[in-house]
Amino acid sequence: MATVAEELQRSRKTKKVEDVGSIPQWKLMVRRFRQSRLSVVALGVLLVMYTLMILGDFLAPYPHDTLDSNATFTPPTQLVWGPEGLGVYGLKQELDTEKFQWYYTTDTSVIYPLKFFVPGYEYRLFAIIPMNVHLFGIDTPGDVDQKVFLWGADKEGRDLFSRVMKGAQVSLTLGFVGVLLSVTIGSIVGTASGYFGGAVDNIIQRMIELIRSFPDLPLYMALAAALPLNVPVLVRFFLITIIIALIGWTGLAREVRGKVLAFASADYTNAALAAGASHWYIITKHLIPNAMSHIIVVGMLAIPGAIGLETALSFLGLGILPPAVSWGVLLRDAQTIQAVVSYPWLLLPVACLIIAVLSFNLLGDGVRDAVDPYG
Amino acid sequence: MSESTTQTNSVAAALVSEDDVIRVQDLRLNFYTNLGVVRALNGVNFNIPRGKVLGVVGESGCGKSQTGLAIMQLTPSVGRYEAGQILFREFASKEPVDILKLDKNGPDMRKIRGNNISMIFQEPMTSLNPCYTVGAQIEEAILLHQTQDKTESRKRAIDILQKVGMPNPERIADSFPHQLSGGMRQRAMIAMALSCTPTLLIADEPTTALDVTTEAQILDLMRDLQNEIGTSIMFITHNLGVVAQMCDEVVVMYLGRVVERAMIDDLFYDPKHPYTIMLLRSIPRLGVNRDMRLESIKGSVPDPYSQVNGCPFHERCPSAIPGVCDTIMPDEIFVAGSQTHTVRCHLYT
């Protein structure tokens, strides 16, 4: 019987062409995923966004909450090519006494050079390594208070680029973590409901119906309003995550239950039962691995909703509260018609949000098609 | 390849009688999928004589269903015709039209579909609309193609339901498809297909999903209706028993080609192609081969993406001639001494 190993060895050696039969199913899914170009692009965009988010503090030239009354509503700074490479013109703030608005004139006689890897405020890279180096900044003589506002500045003269970077850290992770949490709850509850059936199933399903019968927005608002106001930002962040998860799991639990019901009645499950397998064996070996791809798809398609939800809550003033910053908080600044007309750069966070949500949707679609080409 | 094609066409031309409802000539159909090209039909030739039942037999993947769909122009959109024509002749006195030249969704094709050629499928539920009563669906076809009068169409619908052996046609006409049993649904499907007295009925495995007692009654019914109305039938099935009971002539298909064509009696009592012979030997027969070991055809049908050199059956054929069958594609030729029996095999050249 020692020949088995030899036979296997031999067959491996002689195999020249690729044997599709020995490719596990998930690899076939990856292949199918690669065929949908748009989804691959979306995945690329998201990877870039998350990389930028992780490097946020390094990329942001200024702290997100530094007030600067001399820079109120500064438009995006124009980069010019000067004698020392890239640089910016000097800016002068003046008051339009008729409209009572600040406006800015450029002083083209001076060019302050843009410097890379400059020291700035203290932060921790990846929340661990203490650093003060930033990607860029401008070199000004000591007496000139001149900043570079890539995406302009807001009413308080805070750098919008730095604020979007910081806000991404909240908005992009909160949705992700919230969905991760609800996927976990939903999978466990859904599997239990689908596999054990009977009274367990009945109770869980009625509970889900009850939760889902509440109108969404008032429920979120009530829950968010119940959160303590004077807790650290991080704690509030997690509390909001939990709110998103607590309600988000119901839909997922139903999806998983449906899938588990189908897999539990499949004949391979029956064969395992007939061989005397335990419930645990069947759940971990047959049900979860088969349901996993669907769980991932549903989770992926839930992320944009969760991101949107956080934004909506923050926009309404119930989520992340200033001075902490998220994309929702930034959107609040852009909600007046005046902002749209006079300070259109305040809408840049909206663009970021749209790109992120769109990419997640495209990615989710691609993954779904790859997992279940006939679904 | 071109040489063999001409040869095949000459045999096909010699076979056809003047009055064929359908004449399929050198039909080639490829499917272009993500995983590769599927050669579904590789030069199919046959004809359906008027008023006869032609059986199309073969295993899954042999192209028998695709042939039926091609006549209806219902081929899935990934399919492309590389060559061939399907000539349809409504009356003996009418000029034949090439169905493949018609616009898939144009008025000419729509008139042919349903009015001149109808099709019934294995699963009647997929072709009956669950939102309308059976009667309404039959009436719709009649109103579309035959008459404008509503009371007249209702009368005809009930007539046809009666004809297909429904015990209580008025009640059935007012039922929804889900209220009927499988056999009843298939009867309703047949009623719908026959409501416009089509020239040709394409039946794609119409009894495969049914129980044996129901199947027998549906076959009986189709036989009776065929005698009465005179519709030609193309009967697609994998069940040789059903073929023997139903058909006048048979076409055996393998991997998108017709490998043998014969009158029903010749096929069962004097089969020529090794594939046909092996198929007949591999089915258990009541009261015949109980204590005998069944003949089995070794291996399985090659996967649809691959291309086989020579005769497509040579890898599974016990009589394959080395050096010939695996390199040269055999032509379709007449069996010696017959005007109706053709075979595509090197053993008879």
Binding site: V4, V20, A274 | Q217, L219, D265, Y269, G287, D303, I321
Partner: protein, 363 residues
């Protein structure tokens, strides 16, 4: 029940499986689908009992209830276990049941849903061995390789996934899995119904070979009467959850005693164009097992029915020579069976050249 020298392997007595029909918001039980309604039969060691019937007659439910994949509502399933002796499967505790399970296995109809797409063939075939803790590591691998060879597949297929195989090959994998624990009884639940004609013959031959080699006993569930005739020693016919006739294959096919069996046999389309026949007219449809008729379930469709049939359900009784019938008039009716035919030519495959072909190994 039966008095024979051969050892009884399985005796089913009064087995019932009712599925509750629930309705309303609180899912109250408002009725029962009597899928299996008090059936009796037995299987002797080494034989094949065919169980035939139309769809919905409860034949698959019977198989699954015997395997305890479904919990029986009532009745006994006495299995003669080689180690534990006679045990009633219907009432065994889970732990005890798992000790009996290696001796009875099941083969499924659908070659696609019966294999987990995420597991390699090796994992699937080896599953019973690892679940029962019989073998692991290289011993497991060797056993799996042996099993694959046994069913005509190459051992190197172990590392491949089900999607690489055709329907017939998948069915072989399912058979290898069922063989893994050296069972005594294998329940074959429509094992060839989903296969092409030529592949059907391969699988039937394989099942016959394995039966000879390992002394297996089969409960062969199918709706195709020709297949059942070919493989079975005895045949039982089910109608709406009830066995109406059970006899040796020859008796049942040539000398049926139940009107339903007669109608079934007459309906089989024979592959012989010179013998075209018309089916026995069976009025109406198969009744719903949720709401069966009174008395003999077959009486509304039976052309021999009399008053007693409407009121009294005939029990399954032995009318001699192990021919069991559930009909009041079994002795008096003269019914038509399958005609014995001998003049059908079995055509030889033409051989023009000496092609001393060596049977190529299965893929």
């Amino acid at each position: 029940m039966a008095s024979d020298n051969t050892k009884m392997l399985l005796e089913v007595k009064g087995l019932k499986k009712h599925f509750p029909i629930t309705g309303g918001f609180f899912k109250r039980v408002i009725g029962h689908v009597k899928a299996v309604d008090g059936i009796n039969f037995y299987i002797k060691e080494g034989e094949t009992l065919g169980l035939v019937g139309e769809s919905g007659c409860g034949k698959s439910t019977t198989g699954r209830t015997i395997m305890r994949l479904l919990e029986p509502t009532d009745g006994e399933v006495i299995f003669n276990d080689p180690n534990l002796g006679k045990v009633n499967l219907a009432s065994l505790e889970r732990q005890q049941l798992n000790k009996v399970r290696p001796n009875m296995q099941i083969i499924f109809q659908d070659p696609f849903s019966s294999l987990n797409p995420r597991l390699t063939v090796g994992d699937t075939v080896g599953e019973p061995l690892s679940v029962q803790g019989v073998a692991s590591g290289s011993a497991l691998r060797d056993r799996v390789a042996e099993l694959l060879r046994e069913v005509g597949l190459r051992p190197e297929n172990m590392t491949r996934y089900p999607h690489a195989f055709s329907g017939g090959q998948r069915q072989r994998i399912g058979i290898a899995r069922a063989l893994a624990l050296n069972p005594k009884l294998i329940i074959c639940d429509e094992p060839v119904s989903a296969l092409d004609v030529s592949i059907q013959a391969q699988v039937l031959n394989l099942l016959e070979d394995l039966q000879q080699k390992f002394g297996l006993t089969y409960l062969f569930i199918a709706h195709d009467l020709s297949v059942v005739e070919h493989i079975s020693d005895r045949v039982a016919v089910m109608y709406v959850g009830y066995i109406v006739e059970m006899a040796t294959t020859d008796e049942l096919y040539y000398n049926p005693k139940h009107p339903y069996t007669e109608a079934l046999l007459a309906a089989i389309p024979r592959p012989d164009p010179r013998r075209r026949h018309r089916p026995v007219k069976l009025p109406g449809d198969v009744p719903s097992p949720a709401n069966p008729p009174s008395g003999c379930y077959f009486h509304p469709r039976c052309r021999y029915a009399e008053d007693i049939c409407k009121n009294e359900r005939p029990p399954l009784r032995d009318i001699g020579d192990e021919h069991w019938v559930a009909c009041h008039f079994a002795e008096s009716l003269s019914l038509q069976g399958v005609p014995r035919v001998s003049d059908i030519p079995i055509i030889d495959v033409p051989k023009r050249r000496d092609t001393a072909e060596v049977e190529a190994p299965e893929i």
